[in-house]
């Protein structure tokens, strides 16, 4: 008989080991799935995890993609993790990401074709504010009317998507684009461009912002009373009230920070890798960041690693589709397995498994 026994204190070893174990289990289960699809499992796993970085032919293209893809994931996930720790569930980062991109792009395009070094910083501020404002909607509805922030933030994603489509077709459409949907290309306008900072690395301002966010969140959670209050509110809400934490203030703060960081991610994307506001500008970073946040155990350093890993499976997954003809659904299933195993083995940090014979006969 297998029994679960609660540990007196969470195991530090398993807190670190469970993500590694989850990755290994994902490789095994994924390998079985690939084999059932008639592909060589070892080749598939190698294509996903190894080739993007070291393949002699493709690595030059795919290696910089790692930071390009990981940057927004990490930036958004760090913001989300603060709220998740406090028990405030912002599921709508995708919408905040879109609104950041729209507001930032609009601020820049309003000044087109001016030439000033101040335009890009202005766009960054506008992008952050756009995401922040979109996060404030569920925050205010929750604190004023006690609505559920999960539903409100999620549904606002679809509102943001409709706004994005209408902007790409309407107010922000490139007047010189021959009637095609989509804005001017911001990455080709020097004042608004978010270029690759070091050639061949994929490093752009959004990646820099992600690293800064990781460090700031780490200090906040380890050293600052606000970080302590966030953890306390998530673990023991009544103890938090006893300690004098104002729950409404935390809701506003956490949704505000996560919205702002998602908005910034959107802005850096639209001015850099994406280049323009288009109907299908958003590519699911806001949702994937939820997985990244949990994969990184809501810990800033863990999120950094998880973001890189997740980006790797994206790039590797595309490569596997291209080279081995794996269906896109198989890659998504593979990524789903990762989250599944992560949550499943998570219980090892708080429980130990005991394998015992039938209980003693009285």
């Amino acid at each position: 008989m297998i029994r679960l026994e609660k540990r007196p204190s969470p195991s530090r070893f398993w807190q670190v080991a469970t993500p590694v174990l989850a990755v290994i289990l994902t490789m095994i289960a994924g390998g079985i799935m690939f084999a059932l699809l008639g592909k060589d499992p070892v080749a598939a796993i190698r294509t996903i995890f190894w080739d993007p970085l070291f393949h002699p032919q493709f690595a030059d293209y795919s290696r910089p993609q790692l930071l390009v893809k990981a940057g927004p994931l990490i930036l958004i996930a760090v913001g989300l993790s603060l709220g998740f720790r406090a028990g405030i569930w912002n599921i709508g980062a995708e919408g905040q990401y879109i609104m950041g991109a729209i507001c930032g792009a609009a601020a820049g395009l309003a000044l087109y074709p001016a030439d000033s070094r101040l335009i890009f910083p202005l766009m960054v501020i506008a992008g952050g504010l756009g995401g922040w404002a979109w996060g404030m909607i569920p925050a205010i509805l929750k604190t004023r009317f006690n609505t559920n922030e999960i539903l409100v933030s999620l549904l606002l994603v679809y509102v943001a998507q409709s706004l994005l489509a209408s902007m790409a077709l309407g107010r922000l459409r490139n007047p010189e684009g021959g009637g095609f949907p989509g804005s001017r290309n911001l990455s080709r306008w020097e004042s608004s461009a978010n270029p690759e900072l070091i050639a061949g690395t994929g490093m752009h301002w959004g990646v820099v912002a992600a690293f800064i966010a990781v460090i700031a969140a780490y200090i906040l959670l380890q050293r600052h009373i606000l970080g302590f209050q966030i953890k306390l509110a998530g673990q023991a809400p009544r103890a938090a009230r006893f300690a004098g934490v104002n729950p409404a203030r935390l809701v506003v703060l956490c949704l505000g920070i996560s919205g702002m960081l998602a908005g910034l991610a959107g802005l850096f994307e639209v001015t850099g890798p994406a280049g323009q506001i288009s109907i299908d500008f958003n590519s699911g970073y806001g949702f994937t960041a939820i997985i990244v946040a949990f994969l990184g155990r809501l810990n800033p350093l863990g999120i950094l690693l998880a973001g890189l890993l997740m980006a790797l499976t994206y790039i590797g997954g595309e490569l596997a589709q291209l080279m081995l003809g794996l269906p896109a659904a198989a890659i998504q299933a593979f990524q789903g397995m990762l989250l599944f195993f992560l949550l499943a083995v998570d219980l090892l940090s708080n429980y130990r498994i005991r394998i015992a014979g039938p209980a003693g006969v009285a």
Binding site: E5, P8, S9, P10, R223, H224, I225, L226, F228, K231, L232, Q235, A236, R238, A239, A240, R241, F242, A243, G244, N246, A359, G360, A362
Partner: protein, 505 residues
């Protein structure tokens, strides 16, 4: 008296702790048998084995001459063993009859069941209306629901776990009459308690447990309460010393404090008034659920009231939150340790920061001074004899008593002006309880004003200067403890909820 149940060498071990070790004793038909012991002595595990909730590792039980090894409570009930738990398992949104039906294997039709509930409750002097909603009942009435639920099964052995902790003295007297009637009819009762005077008044035999072992058996009527207490604790006890210093100026003033309860089915506070001077200890008694939790929340600032209702050292703090009140010198310790007074998964260091940040100056410009916080936590552990491997273990890893020492110690170590404590020694062993009471009195001696809310009357009479009782959210006028009789206290606590009538007074 024929033997009903015999336990032979029952042993039950959990990882890291032996809950029961070679426990043997017998209960006769119609006997009222006391099971005495401190918290953690193994009483609960033992009765859980008898009631089929836990399987013993070794040892056996014999019921009416037949081997008895229930594998679940339903089996125990079928064989005539019933149990009234300390914490009621009742649904507040259902009525009495529905609650009773939920505990039965094959409940009869509702109307028939209601008639049987009425008949049984009248026969045993426990008036109960089957149609009333449980959420509207007092704690004493809820207990009656549990008892009647057991009596409907016509048990041969009735196990009662700490039944009087929720009752007024008058209600206790009526419960005892019911139990004596049952005993006279041949129902054996296994009575678990640590209230010694009650056991002396009620029980025929007593088995005393300490650290899972039977350390003594005695006839309670022939022993003094002190003798039994010392058997229970295994040490000689010294009562705390009260200060005789004259009291100072007003430290805490509560005027017409009314506040709606934030707890579902809670009790709202209605027009609570009292004044407390420096160095004074006010004991507030009351049956559980009469507004104790709400009063603590309203004083700590977690439940905001209107301006003017609470004044600390003359300053109006009525509408302020917990941190502002801490700044004004008020500290508080809620009843529930895990989840309210302390965060279960956080370390003792983090839990020290939880309420100590402000008064101990542990946060500068928003940044936490972890070194100072560790010193603070280590100081609490040392001064209050908290048994723990270190200050970095999670709060939930500590035993209830040790965590209580930590929580109370954390508040008392902040040089407070006003102290509010709910159930300061709940679940703490006798020696630690004495130490906590002494620490409270020491702070009073040093000039702090203290409000102690407790359901332990002996504790209140021991440490308080003044006495008041909460009854359905109202506070009685305060009275000096000196010269206060148990009858008066009972009346202050709200009488016996109409129970006298049933016994034909």
């Amino acid at each position: 008296m024929t033997e009903l149940l015999r336990l032979e060498g029952l042993t039950k071990a959990y990882p890291g702790v032996v809950a029961n070790s070679d426990v043997s004793f017998a209960i006769g038909t119609g006997e009222v048998h006391a099971l005495l012991g401190e918290n953690g002595a193994g009483k609960s595990t033992l009765v859980k084995m008898i009631y089929g909730l836990v399987k013993p590792d070794t040892g056996r039980m014999v019921l009416r001459g037949q081997p008895y090894a229930p594998d679940r409570p339903a089996e125990a009930r079928r064989q005539g063993v019933a149990m009234v738990f300390q914490h009621f398992s009742l649904f507040e949104a259902l009525d009495v009859a529905e609650n009773v039906a939920l505990g039965m294997e094959n409940p009869p039709p509702m109307r028939e069941l209601a008639a049987r509930i009425r008949a049984v409750s009248e026969e045993y002097g426990l008036p109960l209306d089957p149609d009333r909603m449980v959420g509207d009942l007092s704690a004493g009435e809820r207990q009656r629901v549990e008892i009647v639920r057991c009596l409907l099964q016509d048990p041969k052995l009735l196990i009662m776990d700490e039944p009087t902790s929720v009752l007024t003295p008058q209600e206790v007297e009526i419960l005892f009459r019911t139990l004596r009637q049952l005993s006279a009819e041949g129902t054996a009762i296994l009575y678990i308690s640590h209230k010694l005077e009650e056991i002396r008044a009620l029980c025929d035999e007593a088995t005393i447990l300490r650290r899972g072992k039977v350390v003594a058996t005695c006839t309670p009527r022939e022993r003094s309460a002190r003798e039994m207490a010392e058997l229970m604790v295994g040490a000689v006890l010294t009562p705390p010393a009260k200060s005789a210093k004259p009291k100072g100026e007003v430290a805490l003033e509560v005027r017409d404090l009314s506040a709606a309860s934030p707890i579902p089915f809670g009790t709202s506070l209605k027009q609570v008034n009292f004044t407390l001077r420096k160095g004074e200890v006010l004991g507030i008694a009351g049956v559980a659920g009469n507004g104790q939790d709400e009063l603590l929340l309203a004083l700590s600032g977690e439940l905001k009231s209107d301006p003017g209702m609470v004044r600390i050292a003359g300053r109006d703090m009525g509408a302020t939150g917990p941190q502002a009140r801490r700044a004004a010198g008020l500290v508080s310790a809620p009843e529930e340790r895990l989840g309210h007074a302390a965060a279960p998964d956080m370390s003792l260091v983090e839990n020290a920061l939880l309420s100590g940040a402000l008064r101990k100056g542990l946060v500068r410009n928003g940044f936490i001074d972890w070194a100072a916080t560790e010193d603070f936590a280590a100081g609490i552990v040392k001064d209050f004899d908290v048994r723990t491997p270190g200050t970095h273990v999670a709060a939930r890893a500590l035993s209830g008593g040790n965590l209580q020492k930590f929580v109370v110690g954390r508040e008392l170590s902040q040089s407070p002006e006003v102290i509010v404590i709910n159930q300061p020694t709940w679940g703490v062993d006798a020696a630690a309880a004495a130490a906590i009471r002494q620490a409270i009195l020491d702070r009073a001696e040093a000039g702090a004003a203290v409000v102690v809310i407790s359901q332990d009357l002996d504790e209140l009479l021991e440490i308080a200067d003044d006495f008041a009782a909460l009854n359905e959210g109202r506070l009685t006028p305060t009275r000096p403890v000196e010269g206060l009789g148990i009858e008066e206290i009972g009346l202050m606590m709200g009488g016996a909820h109409d129970m006298e009538v049933a016994h034909g007074h």
